[in-house]
């Protein structure tokens, strides 16, 4: 695949190295001259000095034959324009944007960006998951389907403790996919009994999330 990456910060740099190791043809665009110098010593011809927002630059690097354009600068407005120009002028099939402000995810989606990744949001939920007090953690969002993958730690006072899964009143748009008990995984069936301290991995629609929290007694 031919992949163009806009923005040579830490994310752009490691992403470029990684994708090259995976055998892809990668071109990284960085507009700052001193940063470009540093990057070019490491990456050689895989990095070029230029602004990925500029249609002329994108034309020079052959954006019209790119399979993917990834925008990972530190500014959301730049990432938006990089992806929109790639799509509109060069018919790039897949555009991926880094979001610095997680609130922008809906806007980017509405404006036609295929995939958004928010490091801020990911870091927040990773840290949340490691806090001893967390009972309900969003692990991942499946944006196109409007689903979340969540982890629930069953509290001792939860109404579901001791119940079989079939007797738990779950929202219709949810599915308990995995149970982790004492570091062992269990693929649950309707008969599986829930214990206090179990970690439950569930798929749930955004609308069903509150209902799921209520069912497990993890509403804050």
């Amino acid at each position: 695949m031919y992949i163009i990456i806009g923005g040579g910060g830490d994310i752009g740099y490691y992403l470029t190295k990684n994708l090259i190791n995976h055998g892809h043809e990668v071109l990284l665009l960085e507009k700052g001259s001193s940063r470009y110098q540093t990057l070019s010593e490491e990456l050689g011809p895989a990095v070029l000095r230029g602004d990925a927002c500029e249609a002329r630059t994108m034309e020079e690097v052959g954006a019209n034959r790119a399979d993917v354009v990834i925008a990972v600068t530190g500014d959301d407005e730049d990432n938006l324009v990089i992806c929109q120009v790639a799509k509109k002028r060069f018919n790039v099939n897949r555009t991926i944007a880094r979001l610095n402000n997680p609130k922008h995810s809906e806007i980017f989606y509405k404006l036609g960006i295929d995939v958004t990744v928010s490091p801020t949001k990911s870091i927040l939920s990773l840290i949340e998951a490691e806090l001893p007090s967390s009972r309900f953690v969003q692990l991942m969002t499946l944006k196109s389907a409007g689903l979340e993958i969540v982890e629930v730690r069953v509290p001792a006072d939860s109404p579901v403790v001791g119940k079989a899964l079939r007797d738990v009143n779950l929202p219709r748009s949810s599915n308990i996919t995995l149970l982790i008990r004492d570091k062992e995984y269990i693929f649950p069936t309707a008969e599986t009994q829930i214990n206090s301290g179990d970690d439950i991995i569930a798929l749930v629609s955004r609308e069903g999330e509150d209902e799921l929290r209520k069912a497990f007694g993890t509403m804050e």
Binding site: C53, E54, A55, R56, D75, D76, E77, D78, L80, V81, Q84, V85, K88, R89, N101, K103, H104, I107, K110, L111
Partner: protein, 136 residues
């Protein structure tokens, strides 16, 4: 009418003063309080300090009730993003976006934004002044 202006540089401040004088309800947003000093001392509208691509800031400035929105910061991409938010999310009827880069301007005009490119307009006027003729 109610207008929200993003960017209080020379153009933004002048536009705000013009609209204000005509009795319109004007809100101006800028990153820096220094820029807001450009407004005339008898400016009657409201000013907001903040990031114009942040929905909350736009809502505080009254974008939901706005009849018009103008993006005139010195960043093309910021103007583009803010204008699209105004148009697509808040459904503001009249959205005008300033873009300095002629190529980007063309792209976003084709995408349906109402754009103004001062680079093209300025060069054309200077060309006409020098050659004394109108020519495309």
């Amino acid at each position: 009418m109610k207008i929200v202006i993003l960017g209080c540089g020379r153009v933004g401040a002048r536009l705000a003063n013009m609209m204000d004088k005509l009795g319109h309800d004007v809100s101006v947003i800028d990153f820096s309080s220094d820029s807001l000093q450009r407004l005339s001392p008898d400016f009657q509208g409201t000013t907001f300090i903040g990031n114009g691509v942040d929905e909350d800031v736009l809502i505080r400035a009254g974008i939901r009730e706005a009849d018009a929105f103008a993006a005139v910061t010195n960043g093309d991409n910021r103007n583009i993003m803010a204008s699209q938010i105004a148009k697509e999310i808040f459904k503001v009827k009249k959205v005008v976006c300033r873009i300095y880069d002629p190529i980007r301007e063309e792209t976003y005009r084709e995408l349906g934004l109402e754009t103004i490119c001062p680079t093209i307009v300025g060069a054309q006027l200077i060309f006409e002044a020098i050659t004394d003729k109108k020519q495309k």
